[in-house]
Symmetry: C2
């Protein structure tokens, strides 16, 4: 890469360090940034430092926020007795887009994954237990991903919170809406059969 001036090479490297961005794409993005008007490029850099400086975890649910409490925890229109446990902040957005859930959240920031050396202490499970002990919560919805780590984490948490006598649920598995039975994998199809509902 000796043909690039050092600042360009550094910019390409910066883009390349992002997940899913290869060298060619990094190059394209770097050259694009160089064609931007100065104020736009600086606004981009500013957005990065700004987000990094101002964004931290919500004191209650560990969602990302620039306040003490996130918009959901501080809203009076949400039901604090329902708690949806998710792996990551972006899962909250997916849930919110359904427009069906009006409760609070708890973000684990990961899942239990022995092969990545992530045990229960590395994610926000202790904090979840504290919330269960302090607040009046009637239902915990375990919305971790339907993969091995997500399932294991959900089972681990459900056992841990059993003593609290709180209703614990898991998101239903089944054929995606608009999906095709013919192309559904057998595990999903078996789950959707198991969870069939009366009409």
């Amino acid at each position: 890469m000796e043909f690039y001036a050092a600042p360009i090479a550094r910019l390409i490297d910066a883009f390349e360090s992002l997940p899913g961005i290869g060298h060619k794409t990094a190059q394209r993005l770097a050259f694009y940034v160089l064609t931007l008007p100065e104020e736009k490029a600086f606004a981009f850099a500013g957005a990065i430092t700004d987000a990094k400086q101002k964004i931290h975890y919500c004191n209650k649910c560990y969602n990302l926020t620039d306040e003490q409490l996130c918009a959901i925890c501080s809203s009076s229109r949400r039901d604090p007795s329902q708690l949806c446990v998710v792996e990551a902040p972006k899962d909250i957005l997916a849930m919110e887009r359904t427009n069906e859930y009006r409760g609070h959240y708890h973000v684990l920031h990961g899942v239990i994954s022995p092969q990545d050396h992530i045990g229960p202490d590395e994610i926000k499970i202790r904090e979840l237990i504290t919330r269960l002990a302090d607040d009046t919560i009637s239902e915990v919805i375990l919305a971790t991903n339907p993969d091995i780590e997500g399932e294991a984490t959900a089972i681990y948490i459900s056992r841990l919170i059993k003593p609290f006598g709180v209703k614990t649920t898991r998101l239903a598995h089944g054929i995606p809406v608009g999906g095709d039975i013919e192309y559904a994998d057998e595990v999903t199809l078996a789950k959707s059969l198991e969870g069939r509902q009366e009409l």
Copy 2:
């Protein structure tokens, strides 16, 4: 997007404004940046402002550089009598990777494209003519892309520099190395037949 704190929304928007980055990818990149250690995130922002502030056009060939002249124009090991005309700085890198070309470059920063309202005055053609008048150049290689605008620009430039009596060449068209004749499009195949060489 009301569920995101404003600094996160701004960061997602910044990534989404990049070419080829959709909303989902922008979201993923923004969350990734938030998980970075502070110094890494700041280094990323710094790489953007730094590149934008320090990088400008080479005074001679309009390549991107942080000096007065780019590394190629200022090198004594390059042949200044050969001039390869390219559309964009990244084309220089592609040419350099061949390790075959030892001459200088001239970057047009675009191609003539009437439908985008880009005429000959919007790209660095005048500057090319000035170089031809000032320097002793024996060959101009027109390495614009083999598409309609690139071809038209090459023909336009070749006519314009005819009075200088300089040898003007165009990169050869043909089947890519490792390609398959069966799958070559007919225009490429016709060009490769036209340009066939004796063994």
